[in-house]
Amino acid sequence: MIAWLRDWLLEFLDKVDWPLLLALSAVMVVSLIVQHSAGGGDSHVVIAQGARFVAGIGGMVLLSRVSPARLRNWTPIAFALTLALMPVVFAIGSGRSARLWINLGFFYLQPGELLKLTVPMMVAWYLHRSPLPPNWRTLAVCALIIGIPVVLIIKQPDLGTGMLVAASGAFTVFLAGIAWWRIGLFAGLGASALPVAWQFLMPYQKDRILTFINPESDPLRTGWNIIQSKIAIGSGGWFGKGWGQGSQAHLDFLPEHTTDFAFSVLSEEWGWIGVSVVFALYLFIVGRCLWIAANARDGYSRLLAGALAMTFSVYVLVNGAMIAGLLPVVGVPMPLLSYGGTSAVSLLAGFGIVMSVRAHRKFMS
């Protein structure tokens, strides 16, 4: 058993994509350092985050050993199962302002997070057997595969996760080579549908968007978060105030400073230099994954790995822009950096799929 496990791990280390693994590890180390400061020296936060990383890396290693062909065969079942969990969340779910989690006793399962993986899987599964570039009929089916889970997630209501799931599906279609004029048409339709969508938003979601447009209008409630976060970032300067010296975070002016606003803490304490280094790391991870996708053996692996990579960039862009007041506040964490369970695990699992694609790449490249 031990020997088998050792061989198995050795094989993983032999086939693993070292640049990607090192870049991910670097982000996780940064995360633990930032969390130590943001949590006010509370080792509890660091240990919990570390435990999630260990669980996530475990999932990553496991998935990296599953061949894309097998993953592809399981895709419809995995998609159906995760979609079936959504009604369960509505029935017995828990959460502070929205029903997002299912309590499994030892772990809070967030089906929305699972759908971030299974939706692009399903779209890739469908597209890989359809003629490409996709025609109207194919696109209609993709719209259903993406639309049903997204509507359910937004109803929870969890706008951030809904957006990310929609993006992951849309990126799959984009990478499949959808014609540009169709993209233009969809963008136009989407823009004209915005006023309608506004009617369906929850009051607090509207609040956040209105506050985004003018944060100073409500400096004590919703606007407070954005203003304090901008002060945290801006006061960081070139080099930051130093690790553990961020007064915004430590004097409790910055809200949620271990979760959604963890990157504000990093910006305050490490300055623009630190921010740029972390952005570069993220960009490297995205680029490396897209490169792996481009060299994949089959259409399914290619589309899936590429979509996961591009979705990862959405996390960074949305969270980064949100805390700097460039986008409305939506519940999107900074990937791997923010404190939070399911998100870190599902992200690392996604990278496990990418690593599997890498391990089963084309022989000629």
Binding site: S130, L132, F174, I233, S235, G271
Partner: protein
């Protein structure tokens, strides 16, 4: 969905791979541009606008902090301190900064003793407090505990020892029901305070004068803006909106008289109020048994609280305000006055007492205390000898409606308006009330019973004291009050608290005088029901006895009074004022399970009046004259015939 590719659109892996690579390249380019844009966004905030945000971040180090003023002190009429502020140290935890709270609590438990009650209260408070606000764990630390904590401070982030002023009642239980107590701010208080700065308070008045004068005693909370360093430690005070200290209160109560009143009860339960009839000042006010208000200040333990609430004698119950009882014969002076004032009787009108009063057509009679009756009696004798028939007949002649009008004028059936909160209004017997309360018709027999203070009456000791004082003051009712002066600061002088003008309850002073003569006769007359207490008194007393029997009990009178629930105890009453020719004190005494009235309630009143009057006739002596203790009070005073409960 599972259909294969259409014939005219064959899948071409190479074309698809090329297509993907183009799209992936475009995608990466887009992402790279977006990230650079975002990075520039950060550059703008962090480098270009750095100065502005740096300034705002520094301004953020300034936090407003409340300044809680010292609570006003409470003094007795001679300047003795009844409620004091003493420096104390409390143990506070900021849950968000404390790390692992359970470990912290366990480790703290080894340095200071933390009871399960304190732990429970801490957890309850923690649930309603935001994580970065301090929560008190222990409100009073001993000096040793403080030292131990000081040495170990570094081990406990988020744990603080805070000096503050806490309340202390130096006389312990003596003023439990008068001064009352302050207690920890609870969830209900917080709700009432809303968003005001009062939320900074740790204690508020919960009962007694502490509650009724809460606003004045509390003062006004101030604010200061302090600069903090990165650790949240205060570096300096930037500006300050000073707190306004609470006002001091001076009561009309006399500590010595209060103690005499308490001790006069011995082992008995009951209530006594002594007032100055000339101005409505309350001189003493006791409700027995008492409790120690100091227990409540820093959170009473479950054990102590259960002991207080499970005691059949109900120590927490303020008998003066809430212990409404049937007044019995103490109502006769007021009934007599009503008879004169309404024109139904002249003082000299005589009524024949045969021992039994009959309503026409009713076989069962209403009895007098003396089996053979008292013979022909006028108003004065009817009061002095407590002749039931006189009042049976008077009530029937007046009719219940008219009786009620006069009783309302004399202040029964509504709160006296003393400066305490939650006074019971009592009840004047009326057909409307009986219908509402018991859903029963009013009978003429009810009117008869009402005439002698039995039946549906409920009167509090406070109302009795007010009524007695009014009679003593010739029919002028003064507003009863406990606080007589206030000052806003130690150097300021006492400002008398304005009292409303007295209300005249009688149209004719001679009517009041006739009643007064009856009460003088009750104590000093040859047949007076309370003549035993006149023995050895160097001043003239006027008074009236009474009995309230709640539940008919035969043969078990030997039961200890403390073993019966309050509502089953019968009560001996006595009202009095002295000196009769120029009254300076009026007293109402109610003794629970008091055996037979004049022998229990009246001697207590006598002791109170002695303490007040003899002390005041020898103004330079601080100690009571020796004779006072030796004043012969026959232990087996003449059995008051009045004590036989009327049927």
């Amino acid at each position: 969905m599972m259909r294969g590719p259409r014939r005219q659109q064959m899948k071409n892996p190479h074309v698809e791979a090329d297509q993907f690579q183009r799209r992936a390249a475009i995608g990466f380019l887009g992402i790279a541009v977006a990230m650079m844009g975002l990075s520039f966004g950060y550059f703008r905030l962090q480098v270009l606008q750095h100065e502005e945000f740096q300034t705002r971040s520094e301004a953020n180090r300034i936090k407003p902090r409340p300044i809680v003023p010292a609570r006003g002190l409470i003094f007795d009429r001679n300047g003795k301190l009844l409620a004091d502020n003493v420096p104390a140290y409390r143990l506070e935890i900021v849950p968000e900064q404390a790390g692992n709270l359970e470990q912290t609590l366990a480790a703290l438990g080894q340095l200071v003793s933390i009871s399960s009650d304190e732990l429970e209260q801490f957890n309850a408070a923690r649930r309603v407090t935001r994580g970065f606000r301090p929560v008190s764990l222990k409100l009073r630390l001993s000096e040793e505990e403080r030292d131990r904590l000081a040495v170990n401070r570094y081990r406990f982030p988020g744990v603080d020892v805070v000096p503050y002023l806490t309340r202390r009642y130096p006389y312990g239980n003596l003023f439990a029901h008068v001064v009352g107590y302050v207690g920890r701010v609870d969830a209900g208080d917080l709700e009432a305070m809303g968003d005001s700065k009062d939320t900074a308070l740790t204690h508020v008045g919960k009962s007694g004068l502490e509650k009724s004068y809460e606003t004045a005693l509390r003062g006004e909370i101030g604010y200061e803006n302090v600069e903090q360093n990165v650790e949240g430690r205060v570096l300096r005070v930037i500006n300050r909106d000073p707190a306004k200290p609470g006002a001091d209160l001076q009561l009309s109560i006399d500590v010595d008289l209060q103690r005499v009143a308490m001790e006069a009860f011995g082992e008995l339960d009951g209530a006594a109020v002594a007032v100055d009839p000339r101005n409505g000042e309350v001189l003493a006010m006791v409700s027995l048994p008492m409790f120690d208000p100091n227990l409540f200040v820093n959170g009473i333990s479950h054990v102590d609280y259960n002991m207080l609430t499970e005691d059949l004698s109900r120590p927490l119950f303020d008998r003066n305000l809430h212990g409404a009882t049937v007044p019995g014969s103490t109502v006769k002076p007021f009934m007599g006055l009503a008879g004169l004032e309404s024109g139904m009787r002249r003082p000299e009108d005589k009524i024949l007492s045969t021992g039994e009063f009959h309503l026409p057509g009713v076989k069962r009679g209403f009895r007098d205390a003396h089996a053979g009756g008292h013979g022909w009696v006028d108003l004065r004798e009817s009061i002095a000898q407590s002749v039931n028939t006189y009042y049976y007949k008077l009530a029937v002649d007046m009719g219940i409606q008219r009786v009620d009008e006069y009783m309302d004028r004399y202040g029964f059936g509504r709160p006296t308006g003393i400066d305490l909160i939650g006074e019971s209004p009592g009840v004047i017997p009326s057909p409307a009330w009986k219908r509402k309360r018991f859903k029963q018709e009013w009978f003429l027999g009810d009117t008869v019973n009402s005439g002698i203070g039995q039946g549906y009456w409920l009167i509090t000791p406070m109302q009795l004291a007010q009524g007695t004082a009014t009679l003593a003051d010739g029919g002028l009712r003064q507003q009863l009050h406990l606080a007589r002066a206030m000052r806003h600061g130690f150097q300021e002088s006492w400002q008398p608290l304005p009292q409303p003008a007295g209300v005249r309850i009688a149209n004719n002073a001679s009517n009041v005088r006739a009643v007064q003569e009856g009460m003088e006769g009750a104590v000093n007359g040859p047949h007076g029901t309370a003549r035993a207490i006149a023995v050895g008194a160097p001043y003239l007393i006027a008074g009236k006895t009474g009995t309230a029997q709640r539940v008919s009990r035969k043969g078990n009178i030997s039961l200890s009074p403390h073993s019966l629930p309050l509502n089953q105890r019968h009560q001996a009453l006595f009202i009095a004022y002295a000196p009769a020719d120029n009254p300076t004190i009026a007293v109402a005494v109610v003794v629970e399970h008091g055996g037979f009235g004049a022998s229990t309630a009246a001697p207590i009143a006598r002791k109170i009046m002695d303490a007040w009057l003899i002390k005041h006739t020898t103004p330079m002596s601080g100690v009571l004259p020796e004779t006072q203790g030796k004043t012969p009070l026959p232990p087996d005073a003449t059995l008051d015939p009045d004590e036989e409960p009327a049927q």
